[in-house]
Each structure stands twice: as C-alpha cells, then as structure tokens.
C-alpha cells in the first residue's frame, strides 16, 4: 500500500504532536459541545469527533475541535485533516465539507476512500448532536 506523502506526514505529525493536531476530548455533556462517533472496532476503524461552538448572531461557529481515531494510517490522517478544515467554519459551511474534499487533499488511494466517508459521517453526527442541544 503506497500512501501519498501527505497521508504519511499527517499521520506522523499527529502521532508526534497530538495536542497541536487537536487530539483530545471535551466533556460531551457540555451544552456547546457536539460529539460524533462512527465506525466499529470489528471493522478496524472508529472515529470520534467533537466540536465546540459559539453563537454569533444567528450563526454557530466552530471554535475548537478535538478528535480521537482508532484505525489505519489514512483514517487517522483523514480525521486530523478534517479537524483543521473545521476550525472557524460556521455549521452551515461545515455541512458542506464532503469526503471527496478530504480524499483529494490527502490523495487517498481508492481502497481508502472509505476513511474519508467515515470522517464526513463523523462531522455530520457531531453537528446533529450539537444542534439537538440548542
């Protein structure tokens, strides 16, 4: 399996410096936090994504993001990449992020497109969770 340099770098940097790359967790019970968890251990990948938002006017803006991912190198790289895309975006903008965007940025091989789909699902779920609390 040949990964692009981008996947390898993202993976290695995240591993080396987890805090800088937003590895961690928020309290899922907080009102300004939305949590999404997708995948299954038996399938080999689980992504947990948490967004922390603030309201400005009638817009909700993603202030901060934390994630944890169990999975192959590209699953970890996909989540780390997604997290960077999310910070500072409004929820409406975040909803527009598609797996294709991630797959393109990371140059994922076809067999790993699945990882980017999982990442897209995790943000959808996190937004749903956040919106249900408002």
């Amino acid at each position: 399996m040949a990964y692009s340099k981008k996947v390898v770098d993202k993976f290695e940097n995240t591993l080396k410096n987890p805090e800088k790359f937003n590895v961690g967790r928020f309290d899922p019970k907080d009102g300004d936090v939305g949590t999404g968890m997708v995948g299954a251990p038996a399938c080999g990948d689980v992504m947990k994504l948490q967004i922390k938002c603030k309201q400005e006017g009638n817009q909700h803006i993603i202030e901060d993001v934390k994630f944890k991912t169990y999975g192959c190198g590209s699953a970890i790289a996909s989540s780390a990449e997604l997290v960077e895309m999310l910070i500072g975006k409004t929820l409406d903008e975040a909803k527009e992020i598609k797996n294709k965007d991630l797959a393109e940025v990371l140059e994922l091989p076809p067999i790993k497109i699945h990882c980017s789909v999982l990442a897209e699902d995790s943000i959808k779920q996190a937004i749903e969770d956040y919106e249900s609390k408002q």
């Binding site: 251990p41 038996a42 990948d45 689980v46 947990k48 991912t69 192959c72």
Partner: protein, 406 residues
C-alpha cells in the same frame, strides 16, 4: 530519524539469501562457469549441471532424512503444495473424493483445495484449538471412508504454532490415507526425520531458509509408494512428476541453504530462542496485549502479538523503520482481517491489531532492543489517539456499545 536501513523482523515472510549461498549460485550461470542443462546427457556441460543438481538434492534429503530420489524440484512451496494436493486427488480420485485440511493452512493449500471442490471433491476444513493447533483427534473425527488425503501444515506461518505431524501420520497411515505436510516454515528451525515420520508428501521452500526465491521441493515417499499425477507436462523431468528444465543455480542455492541449515540449526535456534524470551518478557510489560498461539507449543522465531485498541496498520506505520507483518485487514488486499486469527476465535478487533514479529539468522540484539523501545513508545502514542482506549480507561465494556458499522 536516521537514514539507516530499517530493522528486518519479517523472516517468516522471506529471508535474505545467505552470502555463502549466493556465492555458490553464481558458479552456475555464466559462460565462464557452469551453465549447462542438467538434462543434456551428451556433453560435460550437462553432466556438470546434473552433478550439481544431484548434490543439492542430497543436501535437501539430508536435512530431512529421506532418500534423495524422493525429492522433486519445484518452483517453490506453493507449487509443491499444488502438486501434492492436486496430484494425489487426481491420481486417486477413483478411491475417494474426500480431503481433510485445516482453516489455518497457507493459501497455497487452501486455494488448491477450493479448486478441487469445484471439480467434485469434498473438503473438510478443521478448526484449530484455542492455541492455534490442529490436533490428531480433530483429524480422527473427520476421517471418512472415502478420505484419500489429509493436508496439515507443520508450523503455522502466522503464529509459529507446531502441529503434531507424528501422531497425525500414525493415524493416516493406519487408515490408508495419504498425508501431506506443508513444511515451508520448518526447515532449519526444527528437526524433521522423514525416516520415522509417517508423512507421504512434504513441501519445502528455499527462501524461508536463506535460499533464493523461486525454488522449492516436494518430498514424495517411495516406500510405501506414493503416486501423483503431474501438473506440469513437457519433457518428463523429475521422473515425470514435474517437467521443465531444472534451474540449476536456484537448485544449487537451495541445496547449499539446506546444507547450512543442518549445520547451523542449533546455533540459529539458540540465538532466536534468546531473542524470543527477551522480547516476550519486555512486550508483556505493555498493557492489554495478547499473545496469539500457544506459547508452549511454538517455534521461537515467530511471535504474534495483538495490541488491543490499536489498529495494526497504523502500528506498522508508526513503526516505520521496522519491517513486520500484520493480520490487519488494511494490510491485505482482501480487506478481511487474518483468517488464521479469526479461526482461533479471536475477536475481529484483536485480529486487526495483530503484529507478527519474526526473527532470524541476521537479527541482532540491537535490532530487538531498538524495536522494543520504539514499540512501547508508538503503542502508547496510538492509544492516546484511540477512542477505544479512552473508553476502556473509562471502564466502558466495548462489547456493550452499539457501533455504527458500515
């Protein structure tokens, strides 16, 4: 990170050719050396090649204590497995159509069996016990009146577990059933004595024992006589069992590798036993690890470990300067986790998180120590990243979680 060569701990996958072997092989290729066709009976070029081939044959026979005339050269263990299984099935198909093998065999055995199923044969795939061993009792229970062949590997390539081929052999011989053993992982690791083992066919590979890739052999017993139908035709070489001009340099390489294996089995084995003990002791200090395969009944050169809550491919990526294999689906073309680990009854997630370390002749103490250091560091970091580890620490039983599989 230094630019030095990665550490190689994947000897069960393939081994480097021993320099002494490579040197011998070079003597059988060019015009200034011996390039003859062993089948040429009319000149010295052919005679010399034939002599080299027969000497190599005796080295192979010598390692496993059989008659050189019982050794048939093939292109590798895969071809030897195919020749044994299809060869017996096709020759003796009027006697019966039932074959017994196991779920933890190499694909080189499983796929020919599947192929025979498509041609009307009936195959029983035995389950290993929890320790990854196929017992003779399991074989006994599966025997039917129309069973013609039992094919069970000697040492499992993923786990290193050893099957009791001596007692299975007694059983098959008593029942008039042919017994084939894939011994690709055995040569140079454990003693094989075909004068006492009731094995009828045994497959060997050169490249797992410091010989070249592309050559192997099949032992075909003469007494009591075993007959097989050839699978490759074209000249009747190897007493009609395997046609094709013999690859003299490859065969010479295999012969020399097996000669050295006999000479160095003891020292090779002592060394890897030490590494194995050290590695095991250190790896056990890491939380939530599982050794796959019965530790009491395996070879020391292979050690298969599952690191719970970490996916194997990411672990391999984290250990980028170390060459190892994983049972993770992500490292296989099929996207299925190791069928061997699943056959042991391991949960899929533990199969996904397994790494096979295999040591060999050129492994050094530094290799082992550096690997262990890096390993504990990367495991810790990946667990820091793992939501499963976090849940585990929170006391959540992962089996009770409703996952969104997709």
């Amino acid at each position: 990170m230094s630019k030095s060569k990665p550490i190689y701990l994947d000897y069960a996958s393939t081994t480097p050719v021993d320099e002494r072997v490579a040197e011998k092989m070079l003597e059988y290729m060019t015009f200034n050396n011996n390039f003859g066709n062993a089948a040429s009976r009319s000149h010295s070029f052919g005679w010399q090649a034939d002599e080299a081939v027969e000497l190599a044959r005796s080295h192979v026979a010598n390692l496993v204590n059989c008659d050189p005339r019982e050794i048939v050269w093939t292109s590798g263990a895969t071809e030897a497995d195919n020749l044994a299984i299809k060869g017996i099935a096709n020759f003796y198909k009027t006697k019966g159509k039932h074959i017994i093998t196991s779920k933890i065999e190499h694909k080189a055995v499983l796929d020919p069996c599947r192929q025979l199923e498509r041609h009307g044969f009936d195959v029983t795939y035995l389950e290993p016990n929890e320790g990854g061993v196929i017992t003779s009792d399991a074989v006994k229970e599966a025997i039917r009146e129309d069973t013609i062949l039992v094919s069970i590997m000697h040492i499992n390539n993923e786990l290193g577990t050893i099957n009791d081929i001596a007692s299975i052999g007694e059983l098959t011989r008593d029942n008039g059933i042919f017994f084939h053993v894939d011994a690709a992982q055995s040569t140079g690791k454990v003693n094989i004595d075909l004068s006492t083992l009731k094995v009828d066919l045994m497959s060997f590979s050169a490249h797992k024992t410091y010989g070249p890739k592309g050559v192997g052999a099949l032992f075909v017993r003469r007494k009591p006589r075993v007959r097989i139908e050839a699978q490759i035709h074209g000249g009747g070489h190897e007493r009609g069992m395997r046609s094709g001009t013999l690859a003299t340099h490859q065969i010479v390489g295999m012969g020399e590798a097996f000669r050295l294996a006999k000479e160095e089995m003891k020292s090779d084995s002592e060394k890897v036993t030490e590494f194995h003990e050290y590695f095991l002791e250190e790896v056990k200090k890491i939380d939530e690890i599982y050794i796959n395969g019965d530790i009491q009944n395996k070879v020391p050169n292979i050690l298969n470990v599952s690191f719970n809550f970490i996916e194997g491919e990411s672990l391999i990526m984290g250990l980028k300067d170390i060459a190892v294999s994983s049972g993770s689906a992500c490292t296989s073309a099929s996207l299925e986790p190791s069928y061997v680990l699943r056959a042991l009854g391991r949960k899929d997630e533990l199969a996904h998180s397994s790494i096979r370390f295999s040591f060999g002749r050129f492994t050094t103490e530094d290799d082992v120590r550096n690997t262990l250091n890096l390993l504990s560091n990367v495991v810790e970091r990946l667990r820091e990243l793992s939501p499963l580890w976090e849940m585990h620490l929170d006391g959540i039983d992962l089996d009770t979680v409703e996952w969104q599989a997709h």
